[in-house]
Symmetry: C2
Subunit: 217 residues, 2 copies
């Protein structure tokens, strides 16, 4: 399917939220939803929803709303959920372990192939069924298996070196939890960083605004 490839970052960032909300609606048994109702549940206006979805070629029918399952499927398609992407995890500290055990990789279209660590106490074991290999085997593993994304949760001092190794070995995306701004030599490797502090500071701002209002009352 041919789509407008000039989609703004803001719209791209909203697509996973659409997918998540539609999944929840589907699980709740909702079959059809209006742009107004979908917007309300997501904190967006009906017209913003219609504009966003129009970027990707329409869907929906004036006056009838959207069919939840079809819209979810179509957005999932755009997000690449059905492409069979694969992933490995670098680092099995508390955070890596928590994500391996709790994150629903398959629901997001990812197949978690293996985890890597240097700690002899975990190498050779399995976490939630996922084999833990020694980091020395990283390049050989990537050479022998198609690895799309590497989740990086190593200590910050090792982050750049490991990022370089992953890029050189040929992964296409790095999902970066190290709180270190990876500089990637290869332009074609996409780095997506999760910064917990950005989220906490946004919350801090919103609370501070409330305090401001209270002080003025």
């Amino acid at each position: 399917m041919k789509r407008n490839t000039k989609v703004s970052t803001a719209v791209i960032r909203r697509l996973p939220r659409y997918y998540r909300h539609l999944s929840e609606l589907q699980e709740s048994g909702v079959v059809r939803i209006s742009s107004g109702a979908l917007g309300k549940s997501m904190g967006l206006t009906a017209s913003q929803i219609r504009q966003d979805l129009f970027c990707f070629g329409g869907f929906g029918q004036q006056g009838y709303g959207y069919k939840v399952d079809l819209l979810k499927e179509e957005i999932g398609e755009i997000l690449g959920i059905s492409r069979g992407h694969t992933l490995i995890v670098l680092g099995t500290g508390n955070l890596g372990r928590a994500i391996i055990q709790n994150f629903r990789f398959s629901a997001n279209g990812f197949d978690l192939l293996a985890a890597f660590d240097i700690d002899p106490r975990v190498v050779g074991t399995r976490i939630a069924g996922v084999p833990v290999r020694h980091t020395d085997e990283l390049e050989a593993f990537i050479a022998g298996n198609r690895v799309d994304v590497a989740l990086l949760t190593v200590p910050i001092a090792a982050a750049q070196r490991m990022g370089d190794r992953l890029a050189a070995a040929g992964v296409r995306g790095i999902w970066n939890f190290t709180n270190y701004e990876l500089a990637c030599a290869r332009q074609d490797v996409i780095v997506e960083s999760v910064h917990f502090s950005d989220s906490l500071l946004a919350l801090s701002y919103m609370i501070s605004q409330q305090e401001g209002v209270e002080e003025e009352l």
Copy 2:
């Protein structure tokens, strides 16, 4: 200080990123930076940077750029970093433990007071110096201590019930890592959710776009 309180969500979401980048520049010894250079390091245009910062009353001097320390301090002020916000952690599983051990709360203006759990093996212990109390003591603790934010990392089945308890007890913000969309009865309680899947699906989209380009070549 009186500021324009009608600031868009997009600008608010960028403020923590400014703060993070300015902190890194400061640590690297950079004293002054142009809007162009700051934009480049953040993937924004110089004019977008000037517009964003103008929302909060200016800063900077035409042709001289921004003084890194002053701009960082001013943005930190807007974000409420100097307000002495306090935080508790609900749930000390792998994720809660990882965040308690590794997240720089004080650098983000938060004082981590205590953690809560129901597991008798951790109640009464300390994690990275932070005392772990029994969840039964939650309401009494909040009544006796000002608690601004509760980080929620309990199992998904307990999320809503715990969110309700926190709101009733009087916390002002919930930093939600449960992957459950909390419905908050109290309008004045702000819920900030961290959804790992939104980040992975954005990465999935970007990789899929590359595949699309490759297929067309």
